[in-house]
Amino acid sequence: MSSQVIYSSSPAERRAAGRAQVAPWVWLAGPYALVLFLFLAIPLCNLVVLSLFRYSATSIWTPELTASNYARILDGFYIALTLRSLWIGAITTALCVVLGYPLAYFLARCSPRALSLGLFLLVLPLMVSTVIRAFGWIILLGREGAINSLLRALGIGEPLGMLYSEGSVIVALVQYVLPLMVLPLMAAIERIPLSLEEAAVNLGSSAATVFRRLIFPLSLPGLVSGILLSFTVSISVVVTPALLGGRKVRMFGNEIYDQVVTANNWPFASSLAVMMILLTFLAIALGLAAGARAGRRR
């Protein structure tokens, strides 16, 4: 941004201000920076410290350094839990890519009126509480739910037991994170000039070729941020698997919640949370590296 008012006070002005030698941006950004320090940095440090303390049944934790909380994550149960969370996150993200492209392309190329309606219908589900969306899927997928009633009306006998499975969690998660995929993807496609598409079509390219050779490679930056958002959000959910996964399909977030609130094993919960931070950062780093590589090849 080149055209900005940049305030710089002259030495005289600064002297006039007396003791206030602090630049104005410090006063502006300071309050929020302080809040971030107090309520984000310190709680996260507290988390890391707790994860290294020993659990005690009487006082929750004792200030005695140990690596045992991390060792416990290597237990088969938690490995399976981690792999399941990553797997569900990966499938959800892949489905969001497949469903997100048509939607993002449509929104990027439609008329302004269709765009404002389309965005409204995209942002609305995003802003309605996750609980309510999960509740909707319970109604739709339940044994006596809407989909089974429809099947019964069509004469298909046996009700399908769709709820409390990995499938129902994934369906609900896709609905949860799809807008997060579409929004950055749409922004990237909008930046591709329509004339490029027209030129390709005029030169005889099919729709599939236009997508594969033009839209897809040029929208990669948006795709990368969409994938990162979808993946990090979907591996860290609590409510969706709690309501739709039943006892079988537990994810990382459920275990953290139970260890914090129900089991009161704060040191172990903290080590799980630290693991989740590391997994998230790893995913972001891998995604950004892949994006940079794809950018270079282009």
């Binding site: 941004m1 055209s3 008012v5 940049i6 305030y7 104005p24 941006w25 006063w27 502006l28 309050p31 929020y32 809040v35 309520f39 310190i42 709680p43 507290n46 988390l47 048509p102 939607l103 449509f106 190329r109 404002s116 965005l119 409204f120 219908l121 995209l122 942002v123 609305l124 589900p125 802003m127 309605v128 996750t130 609980v131 309510i132 999960a134 509740f135 319970i138 109604i139 739709l140 339940g142 609905q175 799809l178 929004l183 922004a187 598409e197 236009v210 997508f211 990090t232 591996i235 860290s236 959910v237 409510v239 309501l243 977030g253 953290i256 919640y257 914090v260 949370a273 989740m276 931070i277």
Partner: protein
Amino acid sequence: MLRDSKVLKTAVVLIYMALLAPIVVVVGVSFNPSSSYSVDLHGISLRWYRAFFASSAFTDSLFMVSLPVALASSILATFLGTLAAIAIVRFRFVAREAVEAAFMLPLLIPSVLLGAALYLFFARLNMSGSFAAIIIGHMLIGVPYVIRVTAAGLVGINPAIEEAAINLGCSPAIAFIKVVLPLLRSSLFSGAIFSFIVSFSDINVAIFLAGPRTTTLPLHIFSEIQWQGEPTIAAASTIQIILVTLMILAVQKFFRIRLAF
């Protein structure tokens, strides 16, 4: 052309249907006269809305917790976020881009982690379950939205107007308050509404930070679903959906909604 293809339009309609289906059925069930979780097309009944307003657990969670918490956290988030946005857009300082990225952190960190970290932090301060705890949590997840919306609005304001006021003798601060702030009104309003919705709909932070006195509406809905309560849940959800819809419509009226994401 790809954009005119029938296949694309059909796919878009189907995807939107799937996206909206869970919300539509919840609204449908809330008007259902019987106590099953089904959509009855024959009769519309307000039975579950009466049940909602008759239940103090539901009305308290909406009027005594969710709305006041959302209001307080949105005011705080708008104040902090607007100041931060002005610093980011209008000032040059060392590592400005790093600061900008750090200011978005509450959005990048999975909200479950934020909730767990704050829970353990507030537990140490003996503040578990307090209004302060949940308001601070919700304020944190609201500020990034306010910053984005306000920064987008600020970038669109021609600095020449402000310079003119300064040249005519205003101090930079007065010029900002008298000239830029009125132009920024719609962004400020949109940022405030966004942070309000973020708090009003949140469950991931509330599930950790809320206590018996501070059970928000989504949290109460969550526990009712777990206990397989009556369709009152659907009526409560519909009230939430309607409020969120109205707020998004209000934002869309005078702000380009996409700038918030």
